[in-house]
């Protein structure tokens, strides 16, 4: 396992850990998607989570949001152990997420999609739809949106309850470049307002511009962890991901 570069990072609030995964393991039919992984994420940052496909990034999201149960290990959020919590209780604690394969409610209208989250606020729904440019489609069934629009709807839906901690699974895949810029700006603003993000992304431009810290997974293990400049030059990361 590679050296951990945590010590190089500035810690604005001491070593507060917002989300901490401890010795987490999850296997699917013998293949370890997450393999004895220990990693923590601190508040008010945008974290990048990268690694080749199949490295365990999405599994990490599923474990954190409670849609999967780990075989071993612990997850805690602000010191609260949430390993065995129901997904909805985790969500109510302030962890929101999006999915890699879009999971909107296809037969509901765009606005109804925004009304599902627990504690949603209608005026904020409309505001967010306005922001992602979907306001005029509010009464159209969500399945009639284009791929990129559906992606945006899911993004907006994850933010409507103002979660403190947001897991974004490839938020910009298939979204046009102008909107990508806009989404990145929005993520930055929200971080300034005190929110925390983990972003899975394959678009290096987005990752390098947006993230203050990047965690690299490979075969379910953490192979690197540090600021972008560090990751770019890390030989192991180059071998496993960029290069190869």
């Amino acid at each position: 396992m590679a050296e951990t570069l945590d010590f190089l990072l500035p810690h604005p609030e001491g070593d507060t850990q917002m989300l901490a995964l401890k010795q987490l393991t999850k296997a699917f039919g013998g293949v370890r998607a997450i393999d004895n992984l220990t990693v923590s994420f601190e508040p008010h940052r945008v974290h990048g989570l990268i690694g080749p496909n199949g490295a365990g990034k999405t599994t990490l999201f599923n474990l954190t949001s409670g849609t999967l149960r780990p075989d071993n290990g612990e997850i805690s959020f602000n010191g609260v152990p949430i390993t065995w919590w129901n997904p909805w209780n985790i969500a109510r604690l302030g962890i929101g997420r999006t999915f890699q394969t879009i999971r909107i409610f296809p037969k509901m209208t765009v606005l109804q999609n925004m009304m599902v989250p627990y504690g949603t606020d209608p005026s904020r729904s409309v505001e967010l739809l306005e922001f992602v440019g979907l306001r005029e489609f509010r009464d159209a069934p969500a399945r009639e949106l284009s791929y990129g629009q559906q992606k945006l709807l899911e993004f907006a839906r994850a933010l409507v309850t103002s979660p403190r901690f947001v897991l974004l699974d490839e938020p910009t895949a298939g979204v046009n470049p102008i909107l990508v810029e806009k989404i990145m700006g929005h993520i930055r603003n929200l971080t300034r307002d005190g929110k925390t993000f983990i972003v899975i992304e394959h678009d290096m431009k987005v990752i390098m511009n947006l993230c203050e810290r990047i965690v690299v997974l490979h075969n379910g293990e953490k192979i690197a962890d540090g600021p972008p400049e560090m990751i770019k030059t890390n030989q192991q990361v180059i071998d496993a991901y960029f290069g190869d």
């Binding site: 849609t67 909805w88 409610f105 509901m108 989250p117 949603t120 159209a140 629009q149 309850t161």
Partner: protein, 315 residues
């Protein structure tokens, strides 16, 4: 439709339904009462299964429980009708919640089979608890020969059911139920306690089904397990809802009226082959109108409306 026009239509419809029995007699009144009951039963099935996508294949369990609790309380304990009916509703609600805890974890075909097994087990149990239910001999209730009474009780309950569904559809509860059907996991990570929501809808549908069962028992004056727990009743609720369009307010109503009227006509005209027609009708609906009659209307209408607007600019 404008709000005023809608209210007017509703008012006229309601007045019509209130006045209707005084123009009908005997057989026709019975038929309309029967039809109203099926509108309510289909709507109740839709309330849970149509919105959540969990196929309850044994709703007749609660109908039967309602019928028997009402009957036993009236016959064996001398309770009068309405208190007995109330007790039936409460008991069935509790039964639904108890059943819901283990079964609402399983999905798809498995949930359907589990609920079917429950309804068959309940029928069999009722048959065997002969000390209480007189088993296969059936139970004779006190005779109350007042067709208007049953018409209005059933009308009242059906209006209540439809109004409940209409209300739920407008609330977050309704949206939540649909989100469970569309993508349960996505709903959960958005903070929706899907379990609680499913339980609430399942319990509510259990109560309504039991109320119909109780009224039906008193209306028919004679019940036996083979009838009030008839699997075909379950299927009929399902077919009516699907025929009209499940997960919509008007679908089950349209479906119940269409299928009810059709079977009545076919039964009267071709007594021996009408079930073949019904079978053909079901097959044809599944293949050609997968969203049901009403669902089809709604879709074509909204498509037309959207076409009238300027085409959305895609990215």
């Amino acid at each position: 439709m404008a709000r005023g026009a809608k209210l007017l239509t509703l008012g006229v419809l309601f007045a019509g339904l209130v006045g209707l029995p005084f123009f009908l007699t005997g057989y026709k009144l019975r038929f309309v009462t029967w039809l109203l009951m099926w509108v309510g039963l289909a709507s109740t099935w839709n309330l849970f299964s149509g919105y959540t996508g969990y196929i309850n294949f044994g709703p007749v369990a609660f109908f039967g429980v309602g019928a028997y609790v009402t009957a036993v309380l009236m016959v064996k304990a001398g309770v009068s009708f309405f208190p007995a009916l109330l007790a039936a509703g409460v008991l069935a609600g509790i039964a639904a919640l108890l059943l819901g805890v283990p079964t609402l974890r399983i999905r798809g075909a498995y949930f359907a089979i589990a609920t079917l097994a429950f309804s068959e087990a309940t029928r069999s149990l009722t048959l065997n608890l002969s000390g209480l239910t007189e088993g296969g001999k059936g139970l004779m209730l006190p005779i109350y020969n007042n067709a208007y009474f049953f018409y209005f009780v059933i009308l009242g309950l059906t209006v209540a059911v439809v109004a409940t569904v209409a209300f739920i559809q407008r609330t977050r509860f309704g949206i939540t139920l649909v989100s469970i059907r569309e993508d349960e996991v996505a709903s959960q990570v958005l903070g929706v306690n899907t379990f609680l929501n499913k339980m609430a809808a399942f319990g509510l549908s259990g109560v309504f089904l039991a109320l119909y069962g109780g009224i039906y028992a008193y209306w028919q004056t004679f019940i036996e397990p083979g009838e009030v727990f008839n699997v075909l009743y379950s299927v009929q609720m399902l077919v009516m809802t699907f025929l009209g369009g499940s997960g919509t307010l008007l679908g089950p109503i349209v479906g119940a009226v269409v299928l009810g009227a059709m079977t009545e006509y076919l039964w009267a005209t071709f007594t021996y082959v009408y079930l073949i027609f019904v079978g053909v009708l079901i097959v044809a609906t599944v293949l050609f109108l997968p969203d049901g009659v009403w669902g089809y209307c709604v879709q074509t209408q909204s498509r037309r409306r959207r076409r009238a607007q300027p085409a959305p600019v895609l990215e």
